[in-house]
Subunit: 390 residues, 2 copies
């Protein structure tokens, strides 16, 4: 196990009855709030009205940053910074899913820097200080409610890139599973695929002796596999929504990667799909992951993938390890396709072979030449994985 530092300070307020704590949590940090949200679903659900009433009842001044996109764009961050500065705001409340929270993190850091927010994403500038952020989560997927990072899209440059800073870890997150009842089956499935992908990015490593972390990862995967189909069938099953929501935080808050070197290979490949096409992140991850595992399957990785099948899918084993590992990958594919009803080819989500080469080049370039995960991927490897996903 490698040396590590684990420091996750986000206070989680979980359950049906936590909004009563919103005002007091905010007031620990500020009283002039940027209220950030997305496309209006929080207005339909009544959550927006609830938040605004709490603000009014507690003399909390606020300005809105509305319309943050599903793949949040740097333009929204520019707008957010402007609103914060013009109104002397001192806190950001992000109400929504990962996109809203990610974008809020970029605003929080950019406010204190004399540069374009995109400079932070492309590492030309570094966050040294940030506005405090709180979140009210409405979608179980990205884990942004309890981690320090975000992913931002720049449509002008066709880039979708991650950034992170310890300063942008949310101070608190209110997580009410009921807010996810209205998430439709497609986005429920995409969210679960996202959670599972985060877990697997942390899980599939070699030789680090992080046994406990891998057993915990398997626990999170089993949770997704157990409750995914239930949430698809019964949108208002509290137990399913609660387990999935809590799993979303632990898949990516850093615990599973403690003591490990992780490469996040599938994310590196998927970000190019989302940068060039308007596809849902979790769907892209689900499509790529089994092809990625097939591609990296070799004598060195066979036990790792076979153990995944045994420990996560209770797979019966044979003496043929390679066959077993392929079977494990098949189970994962089948879970996404059959249980989660995810379209499992790029063709089905409108991606043909036109830009595969460009995207493979970009994916490896953004990773510094090759993607350095459990198995190093060159541009040709990525291209093969894309082609196998068509």
């Amino acid at each position: 196990m490698k040396d590590f530092i684990f420091n996750v300070n986000t206070k989680i307020l979980f359950g049906r009855d936590q909004m009563k704590n919103l005002a007091s949590e905010i007031k620990k940090y500020g009283s002039r709030v940027l209220l950030a949200y997305g496309g209006g679903s929080i207005k339909r659900s009544g959550l927006y009205d609830e938040v605004v009433k709490i603000f009014e009842d507690n003399d909390i001044f606020y300005k809105e940053l509305a319309g943050i996109e599903p793949n949040p764009r740097v333009d929204s961050a520019r707008e957010g910074v402007k609103i914060v500065r013009e109104n002397d705001l001192d806190f950001i409340l992000a109400v929504g899913g990962g996109s809203v929270i990610d974008l809020s993190k970029l605003v929080a850091g950019a406010v204190y820097l004399d540069c374009d927010p995109w400079d932070i994403v492309i590492k030309k500038a570094k966050i040294e200080k940030a506005l405090p952020i709180g979140t009210i989560l409405t979608l179980a997927a990205t884990g942004s409610e309890m981690d320090a990072g975000g992913v931002i899209t720049n449509l002008e440059t066709n880039q979708k890139l991650g950034f992170g800073s310890a300063y942008t870890l949310p101070k608190f997150s209110i997580m009410n599973p009921e807010t996810t009842y209205s998430v439709n089956v497609k986005h429920t499935a995409a969210g679960i695929a996202d959670i599972m992908s985060h877990t697997m990015e942390n899980y599939f490593t070699l030789g680090d002796g992080a046994y406990m972390q891998n057993r915990l990862a398997e626990g999170i995967l089993k949770t997704c596999i157990h409750y995914g189909p239930i949430a698809m069938e019964e949108a208002e099953n509290y137990e399913a929504r609660a387990n999935i929501m809590w799993a979303s935080s632990w898949a990516i808050n850093g615990l599973l990667s403690t003591g490990k070197s992780t490469g996040w290979s599938v994310h590196a490949m998927e970000h190019e799909l989302s940068a060039y096409y308007d596809i849902t992140h979790g769907i892209g991850l689900a499509i790529l992951t089994p092809r990625f595992l097939n591609h990296i399957l070799n004598e060195e990785t066979v036990d790792m993938i076979r153990d995944f099948g045994i420990n996560v899918f209770n797979m019966a084993v044979t003496d043929d390890k390679m066959k077993d590992a392929k079977k494990a990958i098949g189970y994962l594919h089948a879970f996404f396709e059959q249980d989660m009803c995810i379209p499992m080819t790029l063709g089905e989500v409108g991606i043909d072979d036109e830009k595969l080469e460009v995207m493979a080049e970009a994916a490896t370039r953004h990773a510094g030449g090759t993607i350095k995960g459990v198995v190093e991927l060159t541009k040709d490897d990525v291209l093969e994985i894309y082609k196998a996903s068509l």
Copy 2:
């Protein structure tokens, strides 16, 4: 899943090379340190000299509170408070295992109260503020390095009781698995039994729908079962010591109990053993746990205990659930006895039937009449469990 708040702010610095961060971590909070430690093992190992040199090199003033007992006594807390006040100290560094850390927490809170430290333990006084605490952990067991509670013994009153306050959560903990190389087999086994007991106290609950938490608990139990025997055989196996050490924190820092009602029944019973006899806490827990599970085994709990056998011990199952559940308990007993070489009867640790009645009465009285865990235990239940453990 019940509503919950999860808020664990301790910064963990884990691994071989973290002492370089000690001075800077302390200086975030203070510069006049109470250095708390136990019986001198940190002097033999060289850790004491290392800490003192860091203090001297960084102009950190310190006074010592030495000789904290394995079951830490309230007298030491009184002494600690006196030293802090006389020297105007502003930080406590606890170097040792759970006893040293637990005692330090009591000192940290008592310093700000105009009462005897024992009043905090018996809930006559409440911690409203505390000195910041840092820890250097040298024993994987209690999890005190990443939780807010402690257990203190009062020999005058034959009481061993827990207390807790969010204010006494350590600010940081340095965890170097190498510091546990010198822990002998008996205390290695006791530590693992302690970690497993914490996990099981959180795990054995009914009907709360905390599926993810239970899968994580199983992961921690599997980690103990996998590495326990290795650490017993090879004291300097880094991977084993590291996994066990990291497991110790997660068994009890609150994650496993999120969304659950937990009763900590076995701890309530064991604390009386330690209060009346000089026995090692983890050994007492190991002896009592299988008898406790046998005692509560009924139609309502049978699936819970059987699942434990299946998911933790990969137990093959039959159509006879009751028989399977008993087999699961047998595996746990055998693991403690055979793999961990723990004496599995009270007789072997010097406890006869003389005080069983008194202890059973005390255990239930301290719990408010009955012990309210997964199955409610009366004084007679506790007495039966003690007798079955003889």
